[in-house]
């Protein structure tokens, strides 16, 4: 009896967990390549809107997921290109694309939402939730293997730690960051699509807004490590999914419940920064710094 309720508690958190986890792993991969990723929240919001709109027009949640992945990956490639090819400020590019994402999300989602508020959502069944968790685990393990054991992963990390040295050893920095951007943002897009299609199961203007930052905190508090992110994403997913249960238990208002993930995200950032974790899981050395090589005579 007790075990089944615990099982439900765990399985029920699967959509929120998977959404945060995929977005956080994507964020981690992209930042490992040295690009400061402040556009995450905008693209997360946009991805949610696109997934919803697609799932309304073509009543198939998988198409929504696919559309969100494709558009988000394009954004990732765009960010990687602008920040690596030109000596632009990563922060400014990220923030401006965040606003673009917010704007486009409303522009795309609202007209469709006013016609049909119902899309083809993912089923709320145990089998689907188990599938989600398994998929998340597989993606996490693959991402971990890719980052730590393959030549590609080593090159991506080198691009983040010291792009100048990596470049002189023959690593194409632009190519690595483009790949990291595409992969990372594809995962962020997948997370966003699952957030709306599997977790909230409703879309209104502003759905997903701010939750990209929660994914940001989930990734940062686990040092951008795909396996450690499992723990932080599980905590956040559980918290968010059960926040209404907690609210009922402690007589909290829905406003406090809505606030909880953001407070938890801030606490996670503090917990990470105030403990020895920060030294063990240090960010890439050149994260957010302008990559510019002086012209060489050929």
């Amino acid at each position: 009896m007790i075990s089944s309720s615990i099982l439900n508690l765990v399985l029920g958190a699967a959509p929120a967990f998977t959404a945060y986890y995929l977005a956080a792993v994507g964020h981690g991969i992209f930042e490992k390549s040295g690009v400061l990723n402040l556009a995450i929240d905008g693209v997360f919001t946009l991805g949610a809107a696109i997934a919803f709109s697609t799932a309304v027009i073509y009543p198939n949640p998988n198409l929504g997921l696919l559309a969100s992945i494709c558009v988000s990956a394009l954004f990732g490639v765009f960010i990687a290109y602008l920040t690596t090819k030109f000596p632009t400020s990563h922060g400014a590019i990220g923030l401006s694309l965040m606003f673009v994402g917010y704007g486009l999300a409303s522009l795309i989602g609202l007209p469709i939402r006013t016609q049909t508020p119902n899309a083809a959502w993912y089923p709320m069944s145990n089998t689907f939730w188990i599938e989600l968790i398994v998929t998340a685990l597989v993606i996490g393990i693959l991402a971990n293997y890719m980052l730590k054991k393959t030549k590609l992963g080593a090159s991506i990390r080198a691009a983040g730690e010291n792009p100048y040295a990596a470049s002189s050893l023959g690593v194409d920095i632009l190519k690595m960051r483009l790949i990291a951007g595409a992969l990372g943002y594809a995962l962020i897009g997948a997370g966003a699509a699952l957030f709306v299609l599997a977790y909230t199961q409703s879309w209104s203007e502003g759905t997903g807004m701010g939750h990209g930052w929660v994914a940001f905190a989930v990734s940062l508090s686990a040092g951008r490590d795909p396996l450690l992110t499992l723990i932080s994403a599980a905590i956040f997913g559980g918290l968010v999914n059960n926040s209404y249960y907690l609210a009922a238990q402690f007589y909290l208002s829905p406003h406090i419940t809505n606030m909880l993930p953001f407070i938890a995200a801030l606490v996670a950032l503090v917990a990470f920064a105030a403990t020895p974790l920060r030294r063990k899981l240090a960010p890439p050395k050149e994260l957010g710094k302008i990559y510019f090589k002086e012209e060489r005579t050929v």
Binding site: F86, M98, G103, L104, T114, W213, L269
Partner: protein, 401 residues
């Protein structure tokens, strides 16, 4: 394509680049809005109208204040993206002073209500339920306290992010943004809980009671605008404070060095942590004042935020980032930049109304969507074009890097 560092900075780059990015950003936004059904002629005519609309002054005043506040922290490379939250707390605390301290609402028996109608300082808020607001403070002092308390609230809220950045090195962009959302939901919690009013509308919709008429900031006698004298005075004071600190004090100089080369500051024995904390706190103090101006100048009551895309701050905390950046972080250019973006925001508001009347309800475009697209596109163009001020981009056949 070859990118090289410029030996001399681009001539007139400080004017050319912002203007160029403004134009390109607007054109791209127009194309995007055209794709979702906004007629171009309507877009541009509304845009031009925004520059001469009197109500634009209201936004101009507030954007000048927040823009100056942001220039202050941005000078030290401290990216305060949390002006939204700071304004929200400014609103909450000025509303507390205005509705609960400087005046308060009481419930009176309906048969005695007529006595309050002619009583000085008393204002009947709700005649069906018998709620009267009784003024207890001098309106001038109350106005002053409301602005100061709003400033203090903004400062305290910003100092959280400041302390996190200074002592734990947590990126202030992420923390200020997270704090914005916490502020939004805190406002909701407060106005539906402890600050909920006793009049019928307040009890029904979850908002505070209305501000006593005597406490609302007096409006300037310009037709067509709701700009207040307090707003104008605050804008001038804030502008002078920021200009003075940055130009004439050691605090300003140290902030500038913090922004360009923090290692020099550390090496000369300056406590950089203190300056990081100060930059965010003062920035928050200045931005917080806008909360009082919005509350006692425009809204007169605090309501619940139903849609976090369009909070009562009217997204000005975000728009001011653009104001500061397009002024190239030069405080003297802030009013010009604020004027441009106030006009754009005003145009966005008008555009939304015009769209609703012309196109009917089948195409819904929210004001926030127009604002965000415009902010994002201009900022994006600017961030890319700004490269040209310090670098030279040449296209050479076969030039590959």
């Amino acid at each position: 394509m070859v990118v090289t560092r410029r030996i001399k900075p681009l001539r007139y780059g400080g004017i050319l680049i912002p203007l160029l990015s403004l134009v390109i950003g607007i054109v791209i936004s127009q194309l995007i809005l055209f794709a979702v059904g906004v007629p171009p002629e309507m877009f541009y005519s509304t845009l031009v109208g925004g520059f001469v609309a009197p109500q634009m002054l209201r936004i101009f005043i507030m954007l000048t204040i927040i823009g100056a506040a942001l220039v202050f922290s941005f000078t030290g490379s401290i990216w305060n993206i949390g002006a939204e939250g700071q304004i929200v707390w400014g609103m909450v605390f000025s509303a507390y002073i205005g509705v609960f301290v400087a005046a308060h609402s009481i419930k009176v028996p309906l048969n005695e209500l007529s006595k309050y109608a002619s009583m000085p300082g008393a204002q009947i808020l709700d005649s069906t339920y018998g709620v009267v607001s009784i003024l207890t403070w001098n309106p001038f002092i109350a106005g002053l306290v409301m602005v100061l308390v709003a400033a203090l609230a903004g400062g305290i809220w910003a100092s959280i992010a400041g302390a996190l950045r200074a002592y734990l090195n947590i990126d202030e962009v992420a923390s200020t943004l997270l704090l914005n959302y916490i502020a939004y939901y805190s406002l909701n919690q407060l106005v539906t809980g402890p600050m909920r009013g006793i009049s019928v509308q307040a009890a029904q919709f979850g908002r505070t009671d209305a501000l006593n008429n005597a406490l609302t900031f007096p409006r300037l006698p310009i037709p067509g605008t709701t700009v207040t004298s307090v707003g104008v005075a605050t804008a001038i004071i804030v502008f002078v404070i920021v200009w003075f600190i940055l130009k004439y004090t050691s605090l300003g100089l140290r902030l500038k060095i913090l922004g360009t080369n923090p290692k020099v500051l550390l090496a000369s024995g300056v406590n950089t942590k203190k300056y990081i904390l100060l930059a965010l706190t003062i920035s928050g103090i200045l931005a917080g004042t806008v909360g009082a101006i919005l509350f006692a100048g425009d809204y007169f009551f605090l309501g619940k935020i139903d849609n976090i895309v369009s909070p009562p701050t009217e997204n000005m905390g975000y728009t001011a980032i653009l104001v500061a950046w397009l002024a190239m972080l030069d405080i003297r250019a802030v009013p010009i930049s604020a004027y441009i973006f106030a006009s754009l925001m005003q145009a966005g508001n008008t555009l939304q109304l015009n769209l609703a009347s012309v196109m009917g309800s089948h195409i819904i475009i929210s004001g926030a969507a127009i604002k965000f697209t415009l902010i994002g596109m201009v900022l994006l163009t600017f961030s890319v074009l700004r490269v040209l001020t310090e670098y030279n981009v040449r296209f050479i056949k076969g030039g590959k890097r």
